[in-house]
């Protein structure tokens, strides 16, 4: 099985603090992998390194065999890595439709002059963009909400819209940062099904950060565990769940002995 994303010795230091220290793992092509660890373990920092929000202090990030560390975030997005955020970041004042339409832009090539002069290529590509956004919203079950201002959507649908917007870029790798945060068990269950469905329908790989163990154990095929910026364990859900070091990190040494 080839890896779509491979981190080798990834390190990020903020002054004297190593937020991520020599972390290596791979995301399998077409797989759903989980990234877990206690608060402050460096999970979101790793997402920020992969997507270019932070500059890497050491180590490499390879995406489909190409090094991508220290590229600009929009270039990395263009290569096919997109993400959602722990605290949802939608284009709040825009409609649901425009949120997705904006993210479809990567598939249009017309230039500024063509737009201002309304040349044929502009018309053709605009039409294609609108169709793409509409069909994506339909697939994701948001077709009845296209006119709603994103800010007014209920919480669960905002999450769904954020994932839809990420899919509009035709990504090869989707990074989900705590997608089930603030969801009840029912909604989490729905989200699990959605993630699995998105993976097979759009033929992409998924890396998910999550605290809901049900979700992680339910959908992930591979899990990487972090603690204080370092790798603690790496393996299948069963292996990880039975690893004494992982149990200790989550429950504390005293509890783990019982």
């Amino acid at each position: 099985m080839s890896a779509v994303l491979e981190l080798k010795g990834l390190t990020k230091r903020f002054g004297g603090l190593a937020a991520v220290n020599d972390v290596s793992f791979a995301v399998r092509e077409g797989g759903i992998s989980g990234l877990i660890g206690p608060n402050g373990a460096g999970k979101t920092t790793i997402f920020n390194l992969i997507t270019g929000v932070y500059k890497v202090s050491g180590g490499t990030i390879e995406f489909r065999g190409l090094p991508v560390q220290n590229k600009e975030p929009f270039q990395i997005a263009g290569l096919g890595i997109t993400r959602t955020f722990q605290n949802i970041r939608l284009f709040k004042e825009l409609s649901v439709f425009d949120n997705v339409l904006t993210a479809c832009h990567a598939s249009a090539k017309y230039g500024l002059a063509e737009a201002i002069l309304r040349l044929p290529r502009f018309r053709r590509e605009e039409k294609a963009l609108h169709e793409k956004a509409a069909s994506l919203l339909e697939i994701m079950g948001l077709q009845d909400r296209v006119d709603v201002t994103a800010n007014n959507l209920p919480y669960g649908l905002q999450r769904r819209l954020e994932i839809t917007r990420a899919l509009a870029l035709d990504p090869k790798l989707l990074l989900l940062d705590e997608p089930a945060a603030g969801m009840n068990p029912d909604e989490t269950e729905q989200l699990m099904r959605l993630i699995a469905e998105v993976r097979s329908r759009f033929e992409l790989s998924v890396l998910v950060i999550e605290h809901h163990m049900d979700l992680i154990m339910g959908v992930c095929e591979h899990i990487h565990v972090l603690s204080f910026g370092c790798t603690l364990a790496d393996g299948t859900p069963d292996e990880v769940a039975n690893d004494p070091k992982v149990v200790e990190a989550y429950l504390g040494a005293e509890e783990a002995k019982k």
Partner: protein, 300 residues
């Protein structure tokens, strides 16, 4: 009649600068207090081309727009990586720097100003350029470039993750707005036939920004309304000379308190704009009704 035409020309000239600034501030979310500086560059370059080089006015307008645009690329490289407020302060510094530099160039009259420039700006030139400016602004905003700018305004980090070159789009907005301010400056110089650095001071820059905010951020039609009202208002009250600026200030305060998003914030007065805002309203009401129904179900 001539007086009315004079006001119309002033409105038209300001409109071009305000539409440009609307793209930068209203749609891309960057506040500038230095666009008077770009107007000054357009005005002085146009004056040089027409009064010193005796070349055609059309060329002077193009030269004014191009030089303001070029300078803005340089300024953009230095300042566009700055976060929100810092960019605003940097533009303020730029505007003042232009004024002080012009004060010290004797070739263009220095602080005393530059008199008896040729009068070349007619109502028809202004009208034609206004129509062109509205079309350019409208087509730009309703393209992928314009929507990217709005995304940058709404949520910069998410825009980057959506593959949008944030810096590049801020640059496009800045250059377009500067070039349009340059055109306005060129028209101004060859209309009132007299230019002086203090005409393009921070008060002028602030005036432009107030017109954008007053009309409503993120609305082309709002910027048009804002320019009409705020340029003509002081003229209407010219009879109460000492009171007119008070009334002007009061009008701005009333709008900002009563309608913090400006007269038409985020709304376009066009058939499609009206349809969109009605659809958004309907969708919101439907959502609220659904939420209430769910609540009743939960209670029962």
């Amino acid at each position: 009649m001539e007086y009315i035409q004079g006001i119309a020309i002033l409105i038209g000239i300001n409109l071009i600068a305000v539409l440009g600034l609307s793209i930068l501030t209203g749609f891309t979310g960057l506040f500038s207090f230095g666009h008077g500086g770009f107007m000054a560059i357009g005005a002085y370059i146009s004056a040089i081309v027409t009064a010193r080089l005796h070349l055609p006015f059309a060329l002077a307008i193009v030269a004014g727009a191009a030089s303001a645009g070029l300078v803005s690329i340089f300024i953009g490289r230095l300042t566009l990586k700055l976060k929100g407020d810092y960019f605003c302060i940097a533009t303020m510094g730029f505007g003042e720097a232009v004024r002080v530099i012009l004060n010290n160039i004797d070739y263009v009259g220095g602080a005393r100003g530059w008199e008896s420039l040729p009068q070349l700006t007619s109502i028809w030139v202004v009208l034609g350029l206004d129509i062109a400016a509205v079309i350019v602004a409208w087509n730009l905003i309703n393209s992928r470039h314009g929507r990217n700018m709005v995304a940058v305004r709404e949520e910069e980090l998410a825009a980057q993750m959506a593959g949008i070159d944030v810096y590049g789009h801020k640059m496009i907005a800045l250059v377009v707005s500067a070039a349009m301010a340059g055109i306005a400056g060129a028209l101004m110089a060859n209309y009132i036939q007299f230019i002086r650095p203090t005409m393009f001071n921070m008060a002028k820059s602030t005036d432009l920004t107030i017109m954008v905010i007053f009309g409503g951020l993120g609305s082309i039609s709002g910027s048009i309304v804002g320019t009409f009202l705020l340029v003509s208002l002081p003229e209407l009250f010219r009879n109460f000379a000492q009171w007119r600026l008070v009334i002007y200030g009061l009008a701005v305060v009333v709008i900002m308190v009563g309608r913090p998003k400006g007269v038409m914030g985020g709304f376009e007065l066009t058939p499609s704009g009206v349809r969109r805002s009605m659809a958004a309203r309907r969708a919101r009401l439907a959502l609220e009704a659904e939420a209430r129904a769910l609540e009743r179900e939960g209670a029962a």
